[in-house]
């Protein structure tokens, strides 16, 4: 028994040394650069949480088109993707907001390449409330008064509605500050002013919609692709009080009648080439745009598509 254990130990010691040696080898091997793989190509894609579902669906579909191409998708927010692109750490950044001039400047300084922008679809930033909320439309000013720093609206009765169940306090559901949705909302609804503190800042668009669905007094914002019919309600939005309110839809997002419509963007460093170019071309083709539509967003009109 003891001899067996001793043999076991000898084996374990050998294994430990072997493991250590292997680890060293791996470390040095990876430091040298792992670009010598000819069989698979890896496209790194990172950014917007709004787009993470559509990006994932592209990657999944593209596997059938080009099995040798691996696409890695990370979320985290448009800011994350753009920051990684500036460092040259990824191939494609997904963004639900435009790159800021200083970010473009930084990217040029860091990598010597100019970021190239691709519009791959459109989205309406929908305002969600609980399905039982009697409110049907809202104006940008009212939203700013609810969400913005210094805004005075904190009760539903101030908007002239009462919530079934008696909750009067407005539960503000927002996004964490890395999200492009957050920045887009701040820029276009709050006019670059800051948010009021104390909102529930969710980490994903889905979490926003789920929280709103479970909370009668809640109001939140997210891409229209996250709508769950029957559980939440999308409000019509007017630019100013008194003006006609527009429902978020494919048509109103495309012709920008809906006041908080935005483009879904991809950024690359310089003109893309090789597999990255092929991937983006495919995204811009009918097949890629079909995925956009299936994910709940607004595809590009036929004349703007590739081929």
């Amino acid at each position: 028994m003891n001899q067996l254990a001793a043999r076991g130990i000898r084996f374990a010691v050998t294994a430990i040394w072997g493991g250590a040696a292997a680890t060293c080898l791996l470390l040095s091997g990876c430091g040298g650069g792992g670009t010598d793989e000819a069989d698979t190509v890896c496209i790194q894609n990172k950014g917007s949480d709004t787009m993470v579902n559509v990006a994932q669906a592209w990657a999944e579909e593209y596997r059938a088109v080009a099995p040798e191409v691996d696409v890695e998708i990370s979320g985290g927010g448009s800011g994350v993707g753009i920051a990684a692109l500036i460092k040259g750490a990824i191939d494609i950044a997904n963004a639900s907001r435009n790159m800021k001039p200083e970010e473009i400047e930084q990217a040029k300084r860091n990598t010597g390449k100019e970021p190239r922008e691709f519009i791959v679809g459109h989205d309406a930033l929908a305002i969600y409330v609980h399905r039982d909320n009697p409110l049907n439309e809202i104006s940008i000013d009212q939203l700013a008064d609810i969400f913005g720093e210094g805004g005075k609206t904190t009760k539903w009765s101030e908007l002239g509605v009462s919530i079934p169940g008696g909750q009067d306090e407005i539960v503000r559901v927002s996004r964490q500050s890395s999200s492009g949705t957050y920045e887009f909302f701040r820029e276009h609804v709050l006019n670059k002013e800051d948010f009021k503190l104390g909102s529930r800042d969710m980490n994903g668009s889905k979490e926003v919609v789920e929280l709103v669905a479970g909370t009668p007094g809640a109001i939140g914002y997210s891409g229209m692709g996250y709508n769950v019919p029957g559980k939440v309600k999308m409000l019509k939005v007017a630019t100013r009080k008194g003006e006609p309110a527009v429902e978020p839809s494919v048509a109103s997002a495309l012709d920008k009648r809906y006041p908080v419509a935005r483009s879904l963007l991809l950024y690359t460093l310089g003109e893309p080439s090789g597999e990255t170019k092929a991937y983006i071309d495919w995204i811009l083709s009918d097949a890629g745009q079909k995925v956009v539509e299936e994910s709940g967003y607004v595809p590009l009109p036929a004349d703007m598509r590739h081929k």
Binding site: G76, G77, G79, V80, I82, A83, I86, K87, Q167, E169, V171, Q176, S177, S178, E183, R186, K192, E193, D194, L197, G198, S199, R200, D201, M202, N203, L211, G214, T215, P216, G217, A218
Partner: protein, 315 residues
């Protein structure tokens, strides 16, 4: 005892020479010993390394004039990405961390110590083993699973039972954290009670004390250092927990006024924003500074726990 160094005979010295180990073997053993020493010291190296690395990333902003430490600690204004006026105040999140931890401890300490007392004083060996294994399994549940439970199960229950507008709040996070920190309180607490000599118990029982009196008057005072350590380690666990509170506390930057308010904790704030902050930006560095704050809190708590435990060892 004979003289340890007699004159060696020729035969004896020959025997010694032949028993000498091969040079290669001696070298191998020396290098192995060096490796073992290195590994032993690695723990210090890692802890200091973690502190230095995190501090190094945080330092440029800490010593810049754009940043004031008192604002960082005592302002509740957290606007890391504002276009007009960036403000980095973590008071609301510190309050969040402390409120969730305090609630968790209010639940976990009585239950944890109660369970520790039951396991060490009141139950038979078989039940004891079962309970200990169950509590060990409770400790093994990953924090993201706890967070998921908080998000999907607990939040609905809380809305139904309390009528709170939102189910992700201090109460939710506190209960989840209590369940997460109970195992460590039970196991360390039980060790502390086991360390009380049986003669104490025998003396108490001989005086006619009931077991309730025994626990209350004899065991708790005798084991108080160890029990304190157990509670402190529970606090350390609760303060440092990330994923569960990220998902269960509602993530709102505000000073809470009741246990049904949503809060954001220091850990959850780092987890939510670290990915976003471009490396090297002020925001990124302030998040590392929050890391230093957390490191310091848990370091002090763990140090206190260690000193409490050392207290019992000395006795």
């Amino acid at each position: 005892m004979t003289d340890p160094s007699p004159q060696p005979t020729a035969q004896f010295s020959f025997a010694v020479r032949s028993a000498r180990r091969p040079t290669l073997y001696v070298l191998a053993e020396r290098s192995l010993t060096a490796l073992i020493y290195a590994c032993g010291i690695s723990a210090i190296f890692f802890v200091v390394g973690i502190f230095l690395f995190v501090f190094k990333e945080a330092a440029p902003v800490l010593f810049s004039d754009r940043f004031s430490l008192s604002q960082f600690l005592f302002s509740e204004q957290w606007y890391p990405t504002s276009e007009l006026n960036k403000r980095y105040g973590v008071l609301a999140m510190t309050a969040g961390t402390f409120s969730v931890t305090a609630l968790a401890m209010m639940i976990a300490v009585p239950f944890g110590l109660g369970a520790a007392i039951f396991i060490s004083e009141f139950c038979g060996p078989r039940l004891r083993e079962t309970l200990k294994i169950t509590i060990e399994l409770l400790a093994a549940i990953p924090s993201v699973v706890w967070g998921f439970i908080g998000l999907t199960v607990m939040s609905k229950l809380i809305v139904q039972l309390t009528g709170a507008p939102v189910g992700v709040n201090i109460l939710n996070g506190g209960i989840i954290l209590a369940l997460m920190s109970v195992p460590i309180i039970v196991s360390i607490g039980e060790d502390a009670l086991k360390a009380v000599p049986d003669s104490f118990r025998e003396a108490g029982l001989a005086l006619g004390a009931t077991r309730w009196q025994l626990v209350w008057r004899v065991l708790l005072p005798a084991a108080k250092n160890g029990l304190l350590a157990a509670v402190l380690l529970g606090v350390g666990r609760a303060v440092g927990e990330t994923m569960a509170v990220l998902m269960a506390t509602g993530h709102a930057v505000q000073i809470p006024h009741g246990i049904l308010d949503s809060v954001r904790t220091l850990t959850a704030n780092i987890a939510a924003e670290l990915g976003e902050a471009p490396a090297g930006s002020d925001h990124y560095r302030v998040l590392f500074l929050i890391g230093i704050l957390l490191f310091t809190i848990t370091f002090v708590v763990n140090l206190a726990a260690d000193m409490a435990v050392r207290g019992i060892r000395k006795k």
